[in-house]
């Protein structure tokens, strides 16, 4: 493939990866920002979203769009609820102690993963995309006859992948409005800045924590519902998004939402481009190397504020 079309294909692939990643990493970042909890079970909430999407779309039948649309609402809500309940049952009981929450969420990881294995089974199951047309993309080339439009071999994207990018952007804008323009958002931000003072002003910090934990998980689940028509639901699918989300959050700065968005875009695009031109393994090596460098030279992340 020529360099130009190749790069365009790589960028499109990167944009799809980045869109899913930004939702997953946002969830992780919000949870850490507000609750100071490193949620190791985040990838399993992602997986749970995909699995629920399969259940919903299979149970409903009919046109794939119906099942998908319902899953888009039901799966994040259900996963958010599961997360909120587990916050009340587990994290609250250990007083959100940083060390113990890590162990606690590792436990949650295994419980969710193994429960899925026992019920959903070890197979990868597909969810049909609501629409999926292949769109061949043109490329412009200068030749003797001036600017020419050509249709390179293999340069294409599907309408569904475009939808994923669009949907992720929409959710991101909605999330930003929610955090900055609503009272609940205000309460969350207040809790993030200083939970003690927030409590003194009558903010029900415990409830806020449960809501935030649920919101974080719901964002991961939403990302999963979007990705499952491309990737299929599988009980082990949570590991990669967890790793990627951690990479993003560390690079962007734990708890910093703008940093998370920038880092997700950076990592997603570089993953897409490097893995198309070189190899996916190299893309992971570079991302991990970046994390190491950030930790050494700018431990607070790109946009994070240094601890005082």
């Amino acid at each position: 493939m020529e360099f130009g079309p190749h790069l365009m294909l790589a960028s499109l692939e990167g944009a799809v990866i980045a869109s899913i990643l930004v939702l997953t990493a946002m969830g992780l970042s919000i949870v850490f920002g507000v609750m100071r909890v490193v949620n190791v079970a985040h990838g399993e909430f992602f997986m749970l979203g995909a699995v629920l999407a399969w259940y919903v779309s299979t149970a409903l039948g009919g046109h794939p769009a119906i099942g998908f649309a319902v899953a888009l609402i039901v799966a994040p809500l259900a996963v958010g609820l599961v997360a909120a309940v587990s916050d009340q049952l587990i994290l609250k009981r250990i007083n959100y102690d940083p060390d113990r929450t890590i162990v606690g969420t590792i436990g949650m990881l295994f419980i969710i993963q193994q429960t899925t294995l026992m019920t959903f089974g070890p197979e990868a199951r597909p969810v049909e995309a609501p629409f999926n047309q292949r769109l061949a993309l043109p490329w412009f080339e200068f030749s003797e006859g001036g600017l020419q439009m050509i249709w390179p071999w293999g340069l294409s994207i599907t309408s569904y992948k475009l939808f994923v990018i669009f949907a992720a952007l929409t959710v991101l804008v909605a999330l930003w409005l929610f955090l900055t323009r609503t009272k609940i958002g205000l309460i969350m931000r207040a809790t993030q800045q200083d939970s003690e003072t927030a409590k003194a002003f009558g903010v029900p910090v415990g409830t806020v924590y449960s809501c935030v934990f649920g919101l974080g998980a719901a964002l991961a689940a939403l990302g999963a519902v979007l990705v499952v028509p491309i990737q299929q639901a599988h009980y082990l699918m949570g590991a990669d998004p967890l790793l990627m989300a951690f990479t993003v959050v560390i690079i962007g700065g734990l708890g910093s939402l703008p940093g998370t968005v920038i880092a997700a875009f950076l990592i997603g695009m570089s993953d897409g481009i490097i893995s198309v031109f070189f190899s996916p393994t190299l893309a992971q090596i570079i991302a991990t190397f970046l994390v190491a460098m950030i930790l050494v030279f700018r431990p607070q992340g790109l946009m994070g504020k240094a601890e005082t």
Binding site: L9, E123, A124, E128, G154, S156, L236, P280
Partner: protein
Amino acid sequence: MTIKTSNHAVSRRKALLGLGAGASALATTGLMPGTMGFAQAQSSSPIKIGFQKHATGIGAAYGRWYDATTTAAVQRINDSGGINGRPVEIVTEDDGTDPSRGAEALEKFEKQHSCDVAFGTLFSHVVIGSAPRAAELKLPYFVVSEGHHVASGMLNRYTLQPGITDVKSQVVSMAPFIAGNLGKKVTMIFPDFAFGHDHRDFFTQAIEAQGGEVVAKIAIPPTETSFTRYFPSIPRETEVIYHVMVGPAVLTFVKEMGEFFGPSRPEIFGFIDSLEAVGIDSPGLEFLEGTYFWEGMPRHVQGNQSDVEKTYRAAVGCDDRGASIDDPADVSTYAHMFGCWETLNVIKAGMEAADYQGPQDRTKLIEAVEAMTDMPESLDHPQGAKLFNGKTHQVFGQQFISKVVDGKLAVEHVTTIEEGLYEDEVDYTTQPF
């Protein structure tokens, strides 16, 4: 996790009671299936076969169907009197499709369950990781793996593959068809581990022998979930895509390949591994119409279906399209799982030839299997006639090339056993036990 499938666990007392009650009557009818036949054995304790099952991990879809086939084969063996008059019991251990856990499973078979033999592994990295342990434990290890590692001499005298052909034999017999009918410039897409490397190495040689060449080799990790990024490396001059993929994301792989090519695809030749346990009529796979697949055994019922194939298909619970009779969406790994059925029948034949009584006779069992050669097509070998090479511990058989026609895999060409033969690379019989 231990799952015990005990089909006909019969106590000695029960067997003797049955014998006393009407031995002659039962013997004359000869129709009484199962339990009563075991009574004449010197010991009625079951022969235990350790089944190393890919219950979880990337091989899970295969594991489930290998299990179903194993259960059906053991049922048939027990219904016809077991082995040497003793019932067969399967002891299942999950290996997580993981080499280190595979070796642990063998250890458990030997030390915890006192199994007579171990059996059933598919994924080549698990076989390679487990086989040395089998030799240390002196536990006969019957694999159903396709990898060339058995016949290459890499493993040991305790590891045998008598129920399924190996990759080298498969690709050697496919290459003439590909070069003759589809094209000479081939791009290979294969999983990046032992099994895929066998494909890469042997197909490259085989197609060059036919005057063709491999223009690109694209290795993909078997745990990969997204594939579009790999396809731009396919050179434009490619005439044939040769694909073989495994793992949970095979459907995504094939679907994204179709999306990449759109209306202008080259010829496509795939190993059915890329679509095992996946319906060929899944949405997004329409582009496969007119493409070719290697099949170890035809998934869809053909016009000339033999009686043994019919009986076998019913026994393992598959319908005309190779899916579960109970659930048409649950597609089997039909092109591979016959290997379990045939291997168990080889174990039975070997144990009977060696007059196997217990673990002290394990070497006699291996020698008995090594002495085997021709295996005619029968209900013991429903995939077709086979030729076993005792020196290399590898069986040879026919291969099927099917074309997708109207959403059905129609067999277009069947290779002979001879086409898949190659020179011996090892003589295990010279190795000490």
